[in-house]
Symmetry: C2
């Protein structure tokens, strides 16, 4: 496994891989890898000859009051995990080579970045779209794999790649969960044991919503209210949002109809830690 | 010479050219080609094995009150000119394949897009940066050639390409002028004969500014005033701006110093037609 930190070295390697007719798959990550990331690397492995995992905690997707500085980092451990699941190249640049002095360019995806996470974190997706475009230009992948846990991010990246004509196939891998249902996230490391106990309510409330819908409940207000009650019962929580939206446009739905593809998503604070989760359901 | 209108066909061709180890050069244009464009195609020819000229009148770089609809177009004539100077591939897509329904993504380059042209045309460079990024992803060039006539555009594109890690060498070709000094522009076709006569004052005022600077004048206010007087003497004109700025940051200068690289630029209306011109001087 090669470890590369220079943008130019990565581009030269990508050129030579492409010229040899091999397919490049990339899994962009912020490191502190967990089984969710590793599942994405395995998916990339199935769709390409050379798998590049990128490890970069991207400052432009954090607001000044967010957790950029304390975001967990452990490159040595990450390198071992990357190698264990068949990564060929780790691209792990430093901040100064990605955002040198005088950096000025940002990518804005309209509409789908404005709601949900975008409402709570107004500059977040501008940072996400920008770093993903940069990584596409550096790694030159044929295919890129992202996780469904960041559902809105998946929508934004697909839209950006399509709109800017990036010749990259975007694959979204399913969310990987702990045995009790908590979605894997690097931020789970922040949780106290009480918060960790409470956090299971994220997936519990999504499951409850799914059961309500399966039983024929069409009223999104009632679905949200049921989730709200479940979550509020936990002592450490503060709800940021609970949403039932169209899975493609991310616009809020009021009443479910047959044929809808619905994204149920939520963001909840457990003490100082903000976690998100979601599920996508087809209404039948 | 091949003529391609489909994004996917262009990407597949670009892939096969690159895999064969050949270099692709691109000259992005809005068509209605003149000797200025042809000089850029010749430069691309010198720096690549396969020259792609793109012809696309880009709606997102025009404001609603600007001349998108009446911008001159003549594809048949353009194709003949392209072939005459050694273009291998013309990429000429329609608007719907570049901006399909639901298009949402735009690229913003901060600071250098806000002054000069950007002040008069606030969304112009957002459209320029976006279409150039898209064309880079479609044509996959090793080198791209733009004209010095659009001096600020050259600065914006270089910044965008560097910031987003596009692996594309940007070459800026010199302005080509009519015998009387008027910079070639597709918009010159709009001019009445009186306006065409007056328009020579653009290059005359730039030459006068250069002579003042050569004679040792350090005061940018006085340089601008001298240009202003020359231009105002013409009956059909309305001055938009005259600027003496740092050639890299585009920030206005007040006093010239040894070692400065200075962009003298101006935009002037001749009747309903807005023309721009510029020169870059090194202060010695």
């Amino acid at each position: 496994m090669q470890v590369i930190s220079s943008v130019q070295d990565m581009q030269r390697l990508a050129d030579s891989i492409r010229r040899s007719g091999k397919r490049i798959g990339v899994v962009p990550t912020m490191g502190y890898l967990h089984d969710g990331h590793l599942s994405l690397i395995r998916i990339a492995r199935q769709h390409s000859d050379t798998v590049v995992t990128t490890i970069f905690v991207n400052p432009t997707q954090f607001a000044p009051d967010e957790d950029f500085k304390r975001y967990p980092r452990d490159l040595q451990r990450d390198l071992g995990l990357c190698e264990s699941v068949g990564t060929d190249v780790v691209f792990a640049p430093d901040v100064a080579s990605i955002y040198p002095n005088g950096y000025k360019t940002f990518i804005d995806v309209e509409k789908v970045t404005r709601m949900l996470e975008g409402k709570s974190r107004p500059s977040h997706f501008r940072g996400v779209a920008t770093i993903v475009a940069k990584l596409f230009n550096i790694v030159k992948p044929h295919v890129a794999v992202f996780g469904q846990k960041d559902a809105q991010q998946a929508v934004v990246i697909k839209q950006m790649a399509k709109d800017l004509d990036f010749d990259v196939e975007i694959i979204i891998g399913p969310t990987v969960r702990e045995p009790d249902g908590l979605a894997m996230s690097s931020r789970n490391a922040y949780l106290s044991s009480e918060e960790r106990g409470d956090a299971v309510v994220l997936s519990e409330s999504l499951r409850a919503a799914g059961e309500l819908i399966l039983s024929g409940e069409p009223d999104c207000g009632r679905i949200i209210k049921a989730m709200h009650s479940l979550i509020k019962a936990k002592p450490t929580v503060k709800i940021d949002y609970i949403s039932v939206a169209d899975a493609l446009t991310l616009e809020e739905l009021h009443e479910l109809r047959k044929g809808d593809r619905v994204l149920i998503s939520l963001a909840v604070w457990f003490g100082r830690t903000r976690l998100i989760d979601n599920s996508i359901l087809a209404i039948q």
